[in-house]
């Protein structure tokens, strides 16, 4: 196939060969209607776009019974090996249990941990510490929900210093305080930014690449919480070079996955 990524995306062509990796996916039910919750529907969307892999956490990471969601993600990852990868979600009531839940899944091929502060717990809660230490030993990925709040940046700075071998990804870049995201990406070598956001302002991707550096920006879709077919458009349509688009869509995530030690 020929043509730029923009042209190929405009034609609805599957962009196989790019090796796209979506670093922010979900599986499971939430409080609004998602017409098809099946992992198969997610993989079907990936096939149409040409996405190689998506790293999913359970939508239940928002709340209690996250272990049920972890099992759903594990089942999907087993059904679609290499296509669906996993982040383990944690509930920090007991640090030892959280570590055990993390290790159970990291041992089975999960590539990191996803934490969400809608649970009411800060990312520096003691209940997460042992699990984060285990992930740090394996140089894994830590995906943090982030809505541009100063306390979120402060907690991410603390984790960055405490667990220097983690690859930390802050989600929803540009939701608020775009400058705050860029600043922390500069300050902390192991902090990266993902792009999933329903209302992505025009020019956001270009500004982040210019501000934080192309190596710090990763594509995430939030699918199936959001639409992957929709979220890929912000990178394909960005005013970036082809190499920069490939790095954002694939290369940066590949680098983070490749440094994991099992």
């Amino acid at each position: 196939m020929s043509g730029s990524l923009l042209e190929r995306g405009r034609q609805g062509e599957a962009l196989a060969g790019v090796g796209m990796i979506d670093v922010h996916g979900h599986l499971g039910r939430t409080n609004f209607c998602i017409p098809d919750l099946s992992p198969r529907s997610l993989v079907a969307a990936m096939d149409r776009i040409g996405v190689a892999s998506v790293i999913c956490s359970p939508i239940r990471v928002f709340g209690t019974h996250v272990e049920v969601g972890n099992r759903e993600v594990l089942k999907a990852a087993t059904a679609f090996p290499g296509r669906i990868l996993g982040y383990v979600g944690l509930w920090p009531a007991d640090a030892a249990e959280a570590r055990a839940e993390a290790e159970r899944h990291l041992d089975r091929g999960f590539v990191g941990i996803k934490l969400h502060n809608s649970s009411g717990f800060s990312y520096t809660d003691a209940g997460y510490a042992e699990a984060l230490a285990a992930a740090n030993e394996r140089r894994m990925i830590l995906l943090l929900h982030c809505w541009g709040k100063e306390e979120e940046f402060a907690e991410a700075r603390q984790l960055s210093a405490a667990y220097p071998d983690l690859s930390i990804i802050l989600a929803h870049t540009g939701s608020q305080r775009e400058d705050g995201y860029v600043k922390i990406a500069h300050e902390c070598e192991n902090v990266h930014l993902d792009l999933c956001l329903s209302l992505s302002r025009r020019g956001l991707v270009e500004r982040l690449v210019a501000g934080a550096g192309v190596e710090k920006v990763l594509w995430g879709s939030d699918a199936l919480f959001l639409s992957m077919t929709h979220q890929v458009g912000k990178v394909l349509g960005a005013r970036l070079s082809e190499d920069e688009k490939v790095q954002v869509l694939a290369g940066n995530a590949r680098r983070l996955l490749d440094r994991i030690q099992r």
Partner: protein, 249 residues
């Protein structure tokens, strides 16, 4: 063949507080060229600082004059206080000037959608079948349903909706064939287009981007990568909006 696209959720020329530079029709056309978008129904957006819709409508019509790719979508509101021509005259003037639709901003322009306050306006719009764009943050879905039921021949376009409203959007479209939905910002719902096509068919669905605030390529990829037939994509991409504009009397 490249899927033809007619953007129902687009605009330029407006401003938000603190915005120094206004986008022009030319800026809009440049972006349309870049993404191969054929035509656009355009409003004055953002509307935050627009307190004189008469003037902004005039500027919109002037900007679109001689540019067939841009169909103006002016603001309309009742003339209850005689500060504007009677509603049928407003509608006629807009159609004569090339309007492809109008949009309504009841709270922004200080009026009510209740029948006692908007009846004359809705009667005039229905008479001419001039489509009415309703942004969900300005006209909630319950109000759209109320209007659609009272004016079954009036084409209504819901835009600026959210991916979280599927439980209302499906029955709304099923109940009222005169209601149409812009799939642009912020309808980023996994399998949403596919489910809507199965539920109501493609006829009530329209391509829209949310330009200039939102990155428009997202709406493009959501449609071109949808798991629906090419014929359905063609209707959603441009055919349905062309049909609505062609139905103006």
């Amino acid at each position: 063949m490249t899927l033809p696209l007619f953007d129902v959720q687009c605009g330029f020329g407006g401003a938000k507080p603190g915005q120094k530079v206004l986008l022009t029709a030319q800026d809009c056309l440049v972006e349309m060229d870049r993404l191969t978008i054929d035509r656009a129904l355009v409003r004055t957006v953002p509307e935050d600082l627009d307190r004189d819709a008469v003037q902004s409508n005039d500027r919109l019509f002037a900007a679109c004059r001689g540019e067939p790719r841009l169909a103006p979508c002016p603001v309309i509101f009742p003339s209850a206080a005689d500060d504007l021509p009677p509603e049928p005259e407003q509608v006629s003037a807009f159609i004569d000037a090339g309007a492809g639709a109008v949009w309504i901003r009841p709270a922004h322009d200080t009026w009510s959608l209740k029948a006692w306050a908007s009846g004359a306006l809705m009667d005039a719009l229905t008479e001419r079948r001039l489509p009415v764009v309703c942004l969900q943050r300005m006209v909630d879905l319950e109000s759209v349903a109320d209007l659609a039921g009272r004016y079954a021949d009036l084409p209504l376009v819901v835009a600026d909706t959210s991916y979280r409203y599927q439980r209302m959007l499906v029955p709304l479209l099923e109940s009222f064939p005169n209601v149409h939905l812009s799939l642009g910002s912020n309808y980023t719902l996994h399998c949403g287009i596919e489910r809507l096509v199965r539920a109501v068919g493609p006829e009530q669905l329209l391509f829209g981007t949310g330009f200039p605030e939102i990155e428009p390529m997202m709406a493009v990829t959501q449609l071109v990568y949808a798991e629906i037939s090419d014929a359905d994509k063609a209707m959603i991409g441009s055919g349905n909006l062309e049909r609505l504009l062609g139905g103006i009397q």
